[in-house]
């Protein structure tokens, strides 16, 4: 296979990771460090890699930054690039930061870029981001597809090394539904770098693959454990393929609910902390062994193994067997100390010292064996509390977690010879602890000298363990250094929290199909396409698309809305009111239920009549409103606001089930069942008459606030005589499937009566001219019925209703903000909704604010509604609406600007 790295062509073998292929090609310089731009090679061979972050470019939007070269699988034709270097990896001008290192101590950004605060966004942050950065984010929308699956199993085994495979095989043999996942491309874990294990591994895997009750997921990372054994798995489906089948998703999120979880996540080797421990060619001992034995990519010709435990001997043996010359094995337990290394882009010498005797050893590979850290990330996420194992120099699982066990190395179960304790540290010079965030031992010691005691604070101040690798190779070493500097033990210092995800997960995997049109599905009414065809401009109301206005040629919004308003006042307009919530309240105790839920009295409302209902919360504040029609003694048709439909039904259901279970009443949401078309204006009756199949809709038989069931051109219909415009009006309810047809039929009739369509904007102006409130616009969750002029609606004789007791709490009377109208001197001045109002321009105490403001289409002047302290006592007074740099004088009026007697409603 061929691939390129920074434009240069290389050859790879099937199964190679990018890191393995580069090493076989003699390329060790793979990245520049985050802060100091120091040359870096790989430290590790797996997911814990902090240094070798690369960008894979598949063209167009398919450019992915910040991938670890140690987990990226090479495919034929792959284009890979290094990051965080200008202009090239070998010569990077950012490396000047390394010379400035004495001036870049921990907390440098906090200490330096403090003032002025405004410079952060414009100057400091862009500068810092450019100088110290990761890869380039893709700048095109993601064109790939991501899917999500739920799964259930008896046993989920995480990690397919020797311990995980044994657990999976045993569970499968017992007939259980098993899922086995591993982050690598192949199952086997450490067995893959042990040629002697190949035959046994093959046999175990063959049995598992043949078992229909076993699900085998490679390239799949268990990134998080959530409540009740729900595990998030990220499966990378196509990133390793040169030419993926377009039918396949790029990645797949599995949400697995497992009866039992077996964590077999293994252990991660620790680097050693000594001066110059970050040069390319200096890597973990186990990584060197994996490159040499599993990939046949010897990471050097002449190696020095530095070890704090017996792992070093095994590494030296395996490297030698692969043809690497072992220049020296330096066992720190024998009193040696590493004094430094040299080599600009690859290590060339390592310096050691013992008892004053110094020595420089030439080498091109340094293998560091600093002991092992069990991967307790998932155990800890599942709320397991680990304990510190001093012999191991790491935390191991301790408290029991129900239905989860750790097995193998992640449980601390490893050969005694691999138990290193915490290795000695040589902190002079530049001894790196966190390679990805460029944190040195000195930085940590400085933080403790500056007074930081808590490991959580040291972590945030120095940023150790806070890079994308989450400190997998650095946390224990950092703890050891901080503990040493403070003269405390590691258990006293504590352990920082393990957070999800274990390794980075793409946003695409988490989002799945929930993007674009599917991110927040749009609701449209059955007449939506007709509104589109009529040229409607839409607005979003919750998840609904509502027609805001219908501009004709050359009309702007203001002109269109003014025309639509005049049309309703002069002839007739039609309006799509389908989005209102509708609930049927049915049962022998329906009226009693309504009495308790709404402030109004319902007992004496006759069937066939409607009433404007107001609903409070128990705190006494207006929660929702809407017209309620009584269809029969035991049946109410309740309408709610568009946004309040679900909330109102949930509240009603709460009281029905938990407060008044004795009431015989049932609640049904019928919002989706009915298409609702408002027909409003002096010619509304004339427009509808030919359509209602002979129904008598005269004012005598069907007065304002009445409801009748009939047919509309043969279709089932509920016809309401209601008005939110101030004109005589009807609302035609037909089954939703007939909404389109009914709209077309009414549209023809309305047109014949010199009328037309109007949208939500005209609806708002018309209702504001009448002083009708909109819940959520005039009210803000602190308005009582009296505040908004609705005290008349309260059924005074009722013993109780939701919120009644609150209306007499202290503080609910006294000077409260009340609904009033506002008039400006200049009839053309339209106030700004939300603007604050004061008594004079000298007095900044706010009396209230503007809640609604419009041009006022039919009254000849602009109008506004406002909530003003003791507003009804201020009628006729002049107040000031405060605007940036000026104030607008307004006169307080009653909130009704049009037809205050309501004569037009009864036409």
């Amino acid at each position: 296979m061929k691939f390129t790295f920074d434009g240069r062509p290389y050859e790879a073998r099937r199964g190679d990771t990018l890191a393995a292929a580069l090493i076989r090609n003699g390329v060790h310089l793979m990245g520049r460090s985050f802060k100091y731009h120091r040359p870096r090679g790989v430290l590790a061979a797996g997911a814990e890699e902090p240094n070798a972050l690369v960008e894979i470019d598949r063209g167009g939007a398919r450019r992915t930054p910040n991938l670890r070269a140690t987990v990226v699988e090479v495919f034929d034709g792959m284009v890979a690039r290094s990051q965080n270097r200008t202009p090239s990896l070998r010569f990077d001008v950012g490396a000047v930061n390394d010379l400035l290192a004495p001036f870049l101590p921990p907390g440098f950004y906090y200490k330096t870029f403090m003032w002025p605060i405004g410079a952060w966004a414009k100057l400091y942050e862009p500068l810092i981001r450019r100088a110290a950065g990761l890869g380039r984010a893709p700048d095109l929308p993601d064109t790939d597809r991501y899917t999500q699956r739920f799964a259930h199993c008896d046993v989920l085994v995480i990690g397919a090394g020797p311990a995980g495979l044994a657990a999976a095989a045993e569970a499968a043999a017992a007939g259980m539904r098993v899922m086995l996942c591993d982050e690598q491309a192949e199952f086997g874990g450490s067995l893959l770098s042990d040629p002697a294990a190949a035959a046994g591994l093959h046999e175990t895997l063959a049995a598992l693959f043949a078992n229909p009750r076993a699900t085998m997921l490679c390239r799949t990372t268990a990134f998080g454990i959530y409540g009740d054994n729900l595990v998030g798995l990220a499966e990378r489906v196509t990133d390793h393929l040169p030419d993926p089948d377009p039918a396949l998703p790029r990645e797949r999120l599995w949400q697995v609910r497992a009866k039992r979880i077996v964590v077999a996540a293994g252990a991660i080797e620790r680097p050693l902390v000594f001066p110059g421990n970050d040069r390319p060619g200096i890597m973990l001992g186990d990584a060197a062994r994996i490159f040499a034995t599993r990939y046949g990519a010897n990471p050097g010709r002449n190696a020095v193994v530095v070890t704090a435990c017996d792992t070093g001997a095994d590494v030296a043996r395996d490297l030698a067997a692969s043809g690497v010359r072992i220049a020296r094995v330096i066992d720190l337990r024998e009193g040696f100390r590493v004094t430094g290394t040299s080599g600009r882009l690859r290590v060339s010498f390592i310096g050691i010292e013992r008892g004053g005797a110094r020595e420089k050893i030439p080498c091109d590979l340094v293998a560091m064996c600093g002991g092992w850290t069990p991967s307790i990330h998932l155990y800890s996420q599942a709320r397991g509390k680990p304990r510190f194992d001093a012999a191991l120099g790491a935390f191991v699982p301790d408290t029991e977690v129900s239905n989860l066990i750790c097995v193998g190395a992640c449980a601390g179960d490893m050969p005694g010879a691999y138990r290193a304790g915490i290795a000695p540290v040589s902190s002079e010079g530049r001894a790196f602890v966190d390679f990805q965030n460029d944190v040195t031992a000195k930085d940590l010691e400085l933080a403790t000298r500056e007074g930081f005691r808590s490991i959580e604070h040291v972590k945030r101040y120095t940023t150790t363990g806070m890079a994308t690798d989450q400190g997998k190779t650095s946390n224990i070493n950092a703890l050891g250094i901080v503990a040493g500097a403070l003269g405390a033990t590691i258990p006293e210092i504590g352990l920082t929290t393990f957070r999800t995800p274990y390794t980075p997960v793409t946003f695409g995997t988490l989002a799945g199909h929930s993007r674009g049109d599917l991110f927040d599905p749009v609701r449209t009414t059955p007449m939506h396409q007709l509104a589109v065809a009529a040229g409607a401009v839409f607005e979003d109301v919750g998840t609904w698309k509502r027609a805001r206005y219908f501009p004709r040629a050359a009309e702007d919004m203001h002109m269109a809305v003014a025309r639509e308003c005049r049309m309703v006042r002069d002839s007739v307009g039609m309006f799509d009111a389908t989005t209102l919530g509708e609930i049927e309240v049915v049962g022998a105790d329906a009226a009693e239920f309504m009495n308790r839920v709404y402030i109004n009295a319902w007992t004496r409302l006759a069937p066939g009549r409607c009433r404007y209902g107001v609903m409070l919360g128990e705190n006494g504040f207006v929660m929702d409103d809407g017209v309620v029609g009584r269809l029969a003694p035991d049946r109410f048709h309740v309408t709610t606001t568009t946004g309040g439909a679900a909330r109102v039904l949930a509240a009603m259901e709460d009281y029905r089930q938990t407060e008044w279970p004795e009431l015989r009443v049932w609640l049904t949401s019928v919002s989706e069942q009915w298409a609702v078309i408002a027909v409003q204006g002096p010619r509304a009756r004339e427009a509808l008459l030919p359509l209602v199949d002979g129904l008598d809709i005269s004012a005598a038989v069907m007065p304002h606030m009445s409801v009748v069931e009939g047919t509309f051109l043969g279709i089932e219909m509920r016809l309401f005589r209601v008005s939110f415009s101030g004109e005589m009006g009807f609302e035609v309810n037909v089954p939703a499937d007939y909404g389109h047809a009914a709209w077309e039929a009414i549209s023809a009739r309305v047109g014949a009566c010199q009328g037309g369509l109007y949208g939500t904007e005209a609806m708002h102006v018309l209702r504001a001219e009448k002083g009708f409130i909109i819940v959520g616009q005039e009210t803000d969750g602190t308005a009582t019925p009296d505040d908004v002029g609705l005290a008349w609606a309260i059924g005074k004789a009722k013993p109780d209703f939701i919120g009644k007791r609150s209306l007499t709490r202290s503080g609910m009377s006294g000077p409260r903000r009340q609904l009033v109208g506002l008039r400006t001197d200049d009839p053309a001045t339209v106030l700004e909704e939300g603007a604050q109002i004061t008594a004079t321009t000298d007095d900044n105490r706010p009396l209230g604010h503007v809640t609604s403001a419009y041009g006022g289409a039919t009254v000849g002047h602009s109008i506004a509604l406002a909530m003003i302290e003791s507003g009804r006592d201020r009628l006729g007074a002049t107040l000031q609406v405060r605007m940036p740099g000026r104030a607008i004088a307004v006169r307080v009026t009653a909130p009704v600007f049009y037809d205050p007697e309501g004569a037009r409603l009864d036409a």
Partner: protein, 78 residues
């Protein structure tokens, strides 16, 4: 994501449920004292440990029911 036992439907995922707050609150009559009514509106227990609370299987059968949950372990207590 937790599993929540609905008395009608059995164990279902948390996303199907709505939280209903502390259980066992008694709605006082409209003759209640100011203090009693104020407590009903705003005073809630916030224990470290067992809390009796209401849940509703809102995206399922719609049923309200009570459970006891340990606020430390986030586990339901039978």
């Amino acid at each position: 994501m937790k599993l929540i036992p609905c008395p009608i439907c059995g164990e279902r995922a948390e996303i199907e449920f709505a939280y209903g707050g502390q259980a066992g609150l008694v709605r006082p009559p409209p003759t209640a004292t100011e203090a009693a009514w104020g407590a009903y509106l705003y005073s809630r227990e916030n224990p470290k440990g067992a809390l009796r609370e209401r849940w509703r299987h809102i995206h399922g059968c719609g049923r309200f029911f009570n459970l006891t949950r340990d606020t430390v372990t986030d586990k339901f207590i039978p």
